[in-house]
Symmetry: C2
């Protein structure tokens, strides 16, 4: 028995998100089918968490358990030979037997990419925003997100999750290499359904002067999704990294 | 009479290069058609130079002359409203009357992007290379390119250009943000047809130990295209920037 850990990059555009859904193409399903082709047996794959339709990943992590020993290096090449070009295995490693991609994940980091300038080569994962957006002002507003709070106001109302308390370690806009390009970096122990996109959509309203900087704290306290802004589009969002380690609390 | 300077980004994949060719979709033609729609008159557009089919640009520069005054800011918005998403106008500026995008260009800078790791989100403009490629070794080899030389050996044999002397100011591989990602940066006063791709294809042979580091100087001196390696694929190549200024010599 071996536990295998996979690090996965994917372009979210062609997929209905990570999680298997009947009748829809998902990354998890594509991966299970590729593994079935290579290993000649069906094995379930467990991801660190779901990503929504259209959301990308540069560092999704998943695991599966194998009855027979696995040559990690060979499996990486084999899987990439079978998977469509929109999904690549970046790394395959033999993990501790007990490793669990979801339960052992301590932090997840997302990037949301925008630009105030027209863009071509990264248009699949960078969303245009108005030139007047005030990033310093959004950074002031984002400070209210850091810490442990109930994020009910930034969770999709249809979500069944009962515990909506998350600890946000970092939430800040950073300028990128090209003039006009920015990314919102958010790192937390967990994320609720639609959370990053609701936060970005609300911050962008602050950045355009449509909400006061103090609104984020007010919305968090209100705990009502209707108080927050609209969800930003999925294509700007990338699951950048999942951090593993001993429990933090 | 006004001379208008355009800075243009494009995804080379859907286009048969920059330059107008009968019966083929090119960026220059798309731009002339967009200008015709906006200005209601056909004006020829002159680029800083050609790019081949499949080659991208983040900073192509072009000019056109207009009989009537032009509102630069408005023209940018109008052109981007008419052009396909694979072509964006990054900047529109009123230039000196005598400005010429090709004759006044002093230096052109190209980037060629590769990765030793599997890649998804930038797969349209990053070419996979073998994990064993030795970048330090390729950098040693690339030093022989810097300076003023006849680049006959790195010019497509079908090219009609008679003067094949170019001055290369910079030619080096640089590692990028993600582990395994590298770009070859080359800056010169001018480039011959197929020159960067022939250079990259030859350097990659050096990087894999198939040619000695000293081979670049030998090939330059031989001046024979058959001595150099195969052209690297077009999709890794980006015209990054065109530098204008007073004549350098």
């Amino acid at each position: 028995m071996a536990t295998i850990r996979l690090t996965i990059e994917y372009d979210g555009a062609p997929w209905h998100g990570w999680q298997v859904q009947a009748g829809r193409a998902t990354v998890q399903q594509a991966l299970e089918e590729a593994l079935e082709t290579v290993l000649r047996t069906r094995v379930p794959v467990t991801g660190s968490g779901r990503t929504d339709a259209g959301v990308h990943a540069r560092g999704q992590v998943a695991h599966f358990r194998s009855e027979s020993p696995v040559d990690a290096r060979r499996l990486k090449v084999q899987l990439n030979g079978v998977l469509p070009p929109s999904v690549r295995i970046l790394a395959v490693a033999v993990a501790d037997d007990a490793f669990h991609a979801r339960y052992d994940a301590r932090r997840r980091r997302y990037h949301y990419h925008v630009s105030t300038e027209p863009r071509v080569l990264d248009r699949a994962w960078r969303v245009p925003v108005h030139a007047s957006v005030d990033f310093a002002c959004m950074n002031d507003a984002a400070l209210a997100l850091v810490g442990t709070h109930g994020f009910d106001a930034f969770c999709r109302t249809a979500s069944e999750t009962e515990n909506r308390v998350c600890t946000v370690y970092r939430a800040a806009w950073e300028s990128e290499a090209r003039h006009g390009d920015w990314r919102f970096v958010i790192e937390a122990d967990r994320f609720l359904h639609g959370m990053v996109r609701a936060i970005v959509g609300t911050l962008l309203q602050v950045g355009r002067g449509r909400r006061p900087v103090t609104d984020i704290a007010r919305i968090l306290a209100a705990g009502d999704r209707r108080e927050a802004g609209p969800a930003a589009p999925p294509e700007g969002l990338v699951l950048e990294r999942v951090v593993y380690g001993p429990p933090e609390r």
